[in-house]
Symmetry: C2
Subunit: 257 residues, 2 copies
């Protein structure tokens, strides 16, 4: 029996709790640990583990890759919260990293999270895991730039970069972990693409912005359902037991937080 | 004939000039390019190329690794210059990146430089190049934390982290590129260690701080000469033509800028 999302999440939490940060970080480790612990739903690592298992690997084998994605996500939040960017003093009901540790340490915490992510991603024999992570990270930074400077051509481009890149990579990194040959990766990757879009639209519905502003609540709901349908269709094209990934699609479609 | 430092440096400059940044960076690429172009002596990549050639590889094969080190070094300067850290408005006679492009883009420029560094480092078949780069980066960030918070136990520890880690990695990454087996790497790495110390002491002599404050000018000069001597001794233990590396030691010992 493949592990359900509710069984995968504790694996991720345990791995992150037990993660030994690089000793040379010295006191900087405290703010890095704080940023990780304040963390949320662990959506990206759960997708990564579920994909790896569906593609024939053990879920555990994808833990370094999945948690590398979570650290990149956390890095982006830590830097986004900085006064020069979104100037957020709170994150998930707790002081944001820079508010808690000061701005200099907050900047360095993001830097260290990114470097730790690559330390995890390079623990595999293949360089593909870390290579795709670097590309996804660059796309996310590009999206952040378009957002901060207000230069995005449109909302879809912005969200595909800011959110989509890491979601696609949540699937993509798992494919490398499971050693899925490149020619067979396309439908999996198309699935990851739709998953990112689904996540973003539902996020906007919950926050009342983005797609809700451009398409109204009902229009956004319809777009979300269409993205979920397309995600399920992509899974139909994959020759594997994708029941858990379907459960993730269903969960993302109806989530309320 | 192995290439001299003055022949290696243009290879590095050409590679950096021609480096195609990841397209999804969009407008963020401009500040990344600016930060790279304002760059200095390219000491780390030159050491990396010279080590790779001495260890039996082609200097060209070490270009992605060497330039990844240069991008990590550049990332550290871009973030160090930020108002929350050193608050430097100039770098090498030009506006610092944040001063030129604004603070938000300056933060993102550092982030993108780090991610681009890992994209380069993961272009090799072996994960060792990127793995060691991540470890060196974490050490450097740990040193930056000790510096910013004034919590370093002593100057030697601080400099070993802030400067030493990337110098050691300049040698270390080259060893992976040249496929030097791990048991044979020790004397090369000990050489890199001394090289970092030599660079730091001479830096302090030129700036009149650090080792000059603790040991006086003559004392610091003596320490630099001793580090240079030990670096040469380490090279004696290596079974390879290390003439170019000796030339680099000589150059670092007497440099005036």
């Amino acid at each position: 029996m493949p592990l359900s999302p509710d069984e995968l999440r504790p694996l991720v939490e345990d791995f992150l709790d037990g993660l030994e940060l690089w000793p040379a970080l010295h006191g900087q480790a405290e703010s890095v640990r704080y940023s990780i612990t304040v963390g949320g739903k662990r959506v990206r690592p759960v997708i990564c583990l579920a994909t790896a298992e569906a593609a024939g690997a053990r879920a555990e084998d994808a833990l370094p890759a999945g948690c590398a994605l979570e650290l990149v996500h956390t890095f982006s939040l830590v830097h986004d919260d900085l006064p020069a960017l979104d100037d957020d003093e709170e994150r998930r009901g707790q002081p944001s990293t820079w508010k808690r540790f000061g701005e200099a340490t907050g900047i360095l915490a993001g830097d260290a999270l990114l470097a730790e992510a690559f330390r995890l991603a390079t623990s595999y024999d293949t360089p593909h895991v870390a290579r795709e992570l670097s590309q996804a990270t660059l796309g996310m930074i590009g999206g952040q730039y378009l957002d901060v400077t207000g230069t995005a051509p449109d909302g879809a481009t912005l969200h595909k970069l800011k959110t989509g890149c890491l979601f696609e990579a949540s699937v993509g990194l798992a494919l490398w972990v499971a050693e899925v040959p490149e020619p067979a990766q396309a439908p999996w990757r198309a699935f990851g693409d739709e998953l990112g879009l689904l996540f973003q639209i539902v996020d906007d519905i919950l926050d009342g912005d983005g797609y809700v502003v451009t398409h109204g609540v009902d229009g956004a709901r319809r777009l979300a359902d269409e993205a979920a349908d397309r995600a399920r269709e992509r899974l139909d094209e994959v020759d594997a037991d994708t029941a858990v990934l379907r459960e993730i699609v269903d969960g993302l479609a109806v989530r309320t937080a």
